[in-house]
Symmetry: C2
Subunit: 636 residues, 2 copies
């Protein structure tokens, strides 16, 4: 009912000259659209049916292929229609136009919709009952050269697809991805703007560097030595909008982050950016749940709300990550007590460390799916990434267990381990011991890698059509700095408010304070994060200056604003590219972006970035500092 | 009916917990919105009426002012509500909380809606029939210091408003401007996306320099010597989307232009960017007319479509500009024939030049409203800007005419001039002679300046509540370069298609070719421009290489794309900031942008742009070239 709110009965027919092409609520916007208004076609190539027989139509599209000297398959974004070239002498010019044109040439035809002879009907093709008998035809543009066939495009390597992105975009998959993205964002806007009174406010992208804001692109200005910065998010602006009384803000915001060469990241990306005044964590969560339910595409099945919630400690202990993929089990299990008295040196050494733990996970049917080399590479992985060794126990079909520790464990201990991880015959149990966070993180990684191995072997674990949303909450507000554990840094950003019940600890044991931060996780991917913000200038200043030792000069405008009647406020940002990527089941976010950059940040089509003449840099008072070149500056 | 399509009777009540606050179709989105969902208030400060008497409510807002020890006026974005502090001893803490807090402090109160005593009702205040008797009150944030009073903000100088933008945003006017902007853009999206099947596609802003693309900000990349460029528009991408078969594209696109210090321009701005395949000029125009009519705010009155159209030659000849303000007359009139035989040296000299003309405009009641100094400064203006002299004729109340040319003109000529410009007693006629375009441009400027003078004197000419849209069409495709008239440059951009009936002239007399370009003008402001594009690679290459002498290397991807089956296409871009500025009647586009830059490109609140440490520039291989500093580069 939610989806049809804007489409009372009859309206879709009133609005739609194109007719209904797809059912379902998710496609409602498309249903109501007249995609033939203002243009020279009367129908698309996807909409003609038996009911149109006898109508004169004008179609525009690309020649997909020609066959048997008389059939031309015409394609546009909505589908394929078969054109029939009359075989009489008077129509020989039509054959010349349509049959001789190279595929992917653009043509406009007029003709009459006719039924196909029954034996030629194609039930697999939505327009397969009809064809269009051509009256007139016109080549609008010849296709002269094609580096590869459009229908083959998805098989080509990605660099070639990027170079000829305008051809790649013609593929059914890219058309679907970009059109679904557009519709889903529109539904979000309806929910926020029309249903809940949010105000879409554009914030600047030419800003200044934020404190500690590494990874920000700079933009030289005409003032010598001064630079704008492309912000990583509109964080400061959205908080200032709250101070300004625009108390329900959203923006589909372009953000920038220079992460160098990281796979599946983009230097510019888009987030659904939301901020509200007079709201608490539950309010933001309810809003986001409503937003996603309302905008969720029908064809992906319904999603249930409210989403489950898990605190950070649980997530780390059970899944070894702050973004658990809850579509499958294989959870981490604490087995410290079982091994406390096992006289093995590395165990005892590990257990003597502070915050030590022994944890295990059970890989179902591991004997069948994991080769020795797999177990070795998992061990190498945890060693190299987490400095954690990995021990494996193989549960034979006769119930006996095989491991390096066999002789150190008594039967009771073996049974306790099997019971703890609920292992069955044929399973493999992987174990690690040491500092809590490192052990959990290592096993969290092992859990995902093992799942890949099991699935590669043919054991399905993660349903690609399932969507498991999860809130992760109660993060620590601060983390110890890696380079100097005596110092603290923000776990997320310095504007996150402390948990109300931990506020008193700010002044005594700040490392123990939880923040009012919440992450939204979908199938093991972080798709959003937000927090209730600090609205008290004194508290904000204490955290910045006394805890984080930041220079508050750069944030003086924000601190001043908090003293001018700032309302309590909070918000969230959803990563749109990642969300759409998961919704359409794409391999990479590059498949849901019209013109993405390569993982090195290059546009392979236009060849951006590119060299710029020195005189074009002059107004900006910068010059290139070529590597391997020594530059001496002397004042005149 | 168009506006109510999405809101059938009853739906607004179903959706709205907040209740109806404003009438009219334009506010339909607001009407349907629940602005109290997900937050801790139950009502806004603008919605309580007599019908709510007896209800318990929770309000959040800012203290506007306090009076008589018992009344507190609470404000939020929707209005004002009077709070009544009970005067009994048990409520003394409430008085302490609410009455002692500084104005602009943020509070939350619960209370009961009660009727005001009849003599205290305030008919000017929408909530003036009621007040809220406070049960509980809580200060959410104290306002500690305020550089000026919020209600005084509009009177402050603009620099101060910019510095404290978060306070400026609390003003009724800024709230109205930004909320209307959001609603109007949302209506545009509904029209394009939901009604007409357009696809919202985001295009990159990290691109590369376009040929001849001066005024583009550069962004240093991590590849030494290579820069991205912030594009002035998504022009290339939207054309490539057409080649890619996304045949109805739109985007609310952020664009960048470095114009240095120009008043009422912004380094970043927003355009409604539209492109379609298989469309002609009339199709784009009909689309834009439908779009504006659909999204037009109800409170600004209806707009009639189709918009009138004028070709460029007419606009120049009658209004002396390509963006005529058609809200008032005072058109330019050709009077060449009258003066052809007048034996005055400067006239004869002017008329001997090629493409010469004599034109005049009549300033109604000029005798009353134009002082001598005004006439002098108009003359100086045309001399300095156009190198054109200005001659004035004063039409006395007795019907006689006074001018420097009195003795050179016979009665017949005088009468002919009066008749030609339809002058009445008391009017002033201003005349200029010389080259057609210069004369027209000079008088076009004089027309606007005179209108300012007449209006300053008290004669209303341009109805501020009238909206005169006008298409200007049939522009020349090329202009002679100012520095070398033998060379041609694009009047708009090199992708504009020639007028079909002029195509043959491309190869013989390109200067005579008209382009399929169209500008949309509103009250004398260009608010949009677009064209049918070239879709033929050969023609595009000829224009770029043979006519414009451009290096096509930088555009090789686009030329290649045109050869791969590019459909005929065209589009338009509407300047959103300017459009909203005109709709709300703001003085400057800065008043419809949440965080604008000053005319020098500075953010006066955060102090952007700012200095950046040299080590932060290192990864980008640039260094500051300080002016007045000599830099020696020596290879190592």
């Amino acid at each position: 009912m939610g989806r049809l709110r804007f489409l009372p009965a009859g309206v879709s027919l009133l609005l739609s000259r194109g007719g209904a092409k797809r059912g379902g609520r998710g496609a409602s916007s498309t249903l109501a659209s007249d995609v033939n208004s203002f243009v020279t076609r009367t129908k698309t190539c996807g909409e003609l049916r038996s009911t149109h027989v006898g109508q004169n139509v004008t179609l525009c599209g690309w020649i997909q292929y020609q066959r048997q000297e008389q059939f031309v398959i015409l394609r546009d974004f909505q589908g394929l229609t078969q054109l029939l070239i009359p075989q009489d002498q008077a129509s020989s010019h039509l054959k010349k136009i349509l049959y001789d044109a190279p595929v992917e040439s653009v043509v406009r035809v007029t003709g009459t919709v006719v039924s196909r002879p029954p034996e030629q009907a194609n039930p697999k093709m939505p327009t397969g009952d009809i064809e269009v008998k051509v009256d007139t035809a016109e080549v609008l543009n010849l296709c002269k050269k094609l580096p590869f066939e459009v229908k083959e495009v998805s098989k080509k390597n990605e660099a070639l697809r990027m170079q000829y992105r305008y051809l790649d975009l013609r593929s059914v998959q890219m058309q679907y991805n970009l059109r679904l993205r557009s519709q889903m964002v529109m539904r979000m806007r309806e929910f926020l703007c029309n249903h809940h009174g949010f105000v879409d406010v554009e914030t600047p992208t030419l800003f200044k560097k934020t404190p500690g804001g590494a990874k920000e692109f700079v933009v030289p200005s005409r003032e010598a030595g001064k630079f704008y910065s492309l912000p990583q998010s509109p964080q400061q602006f959205k908080q200032l909008l709250m101070v300004g009384g625009l108390d329900r803000y959203f923006q589909v915001a372009r953000c920038y982050r220079d992460e160098g060469s990281r796979p599946d990241r983009q230097p510019e990306f888009t987030q659904i950016d939301i901020e509200m005044s007079f709201v608490d964590q539950a309010g933001i969560q309810a809003l986001v749940e409503g937003l996603l339910q309302y905008s969720w595409p029908e064809e992906r099945g319904p999603i249930a709300i409210p989403f489950p919630s898990m605190n950070y400690d649980e997530a780390l202990a059970m899944y070894g990550t702050d973004k658990p993929d809850t579509r499958f089990g294989m959870k981490l299990v604490e087995v410290t007590d079982i091994f406390r008295n096992v006289e093995v040196e590395f165990l005892q050494k590990s257990l003597s460390e502070p915050q030590s733990t022994v944890r295990a996970i059970c890989i179902p049917q591991g004997m069948k799916y994991l080769q020795n080399k797999d177990l070795e590479s998992l061990n190498e992985l945890t060693k190299s990434q987490f400095n954690q060794g990995l021990l494996h126990f193989i549960l034979r079909s006769d119930g006996s267990m095989k491991s390096r520790l066999d002789k150190f464990l008594n039967e009771e201990q073996k049974l306790a381990l099997i019971r703890a991880v609920r292992a069955n015959a044929g399973d493999v149990v992987l174990l690690s011991a040491g500092e809590h966070e490192k052990v959990c993180s290592a096993l969290g990684k092992v859990r995902l890698e093992s799942a890949d191995l099991l699935e590669a072997g043919g054991l399905p674990l993660r349903d690609p059509s399932a969507f498991h949303f999860l809130w992760v909450v109660d993060f620590p507000l601060f983390l110890q700095k890696e380079e100097n554990p005596a110092e603290l840094e923000s776990a997320h950003h310095p504007f996150t408010a402390p948990h109300p019940s931990d506020e008193h600890l700010l002044y005594t044991e700040p490392a123990k304070v939880r923040g009012q931060h919440y992450d939204l996780v979908l199938n093991g991917n972080e798709i959003g994060g937000g927090s209730i913000r600090i609205h008290n200038a004194k508290q904000q200043r204490f955290i910045l200056e006394d805890i984080l030792k930041e220079d508050t000069e750069l944030l003086s405008h924000l601190l001043e604003a908090l003293d001018c009647g700032a309302p309590p406020h909070g918000g969230i940002a959803l990563g749109l590219d990642r969300l759409i990527c998961l919704v359409v089941g794409a391999k990479s976010i590059r498949d849901v972006i019209a013109f993405p950059k390569s993982f090195k940040g290059r546009d392979l089509m236009s060849n951006a970035p590119d060299y710029v003449a020195p005189q074009e840099l002059e107004p900006y008072h910068v010059q290139v500092a070529w590597p391997l070149t020594q530059v001496k500056v002397s004042s005149s």
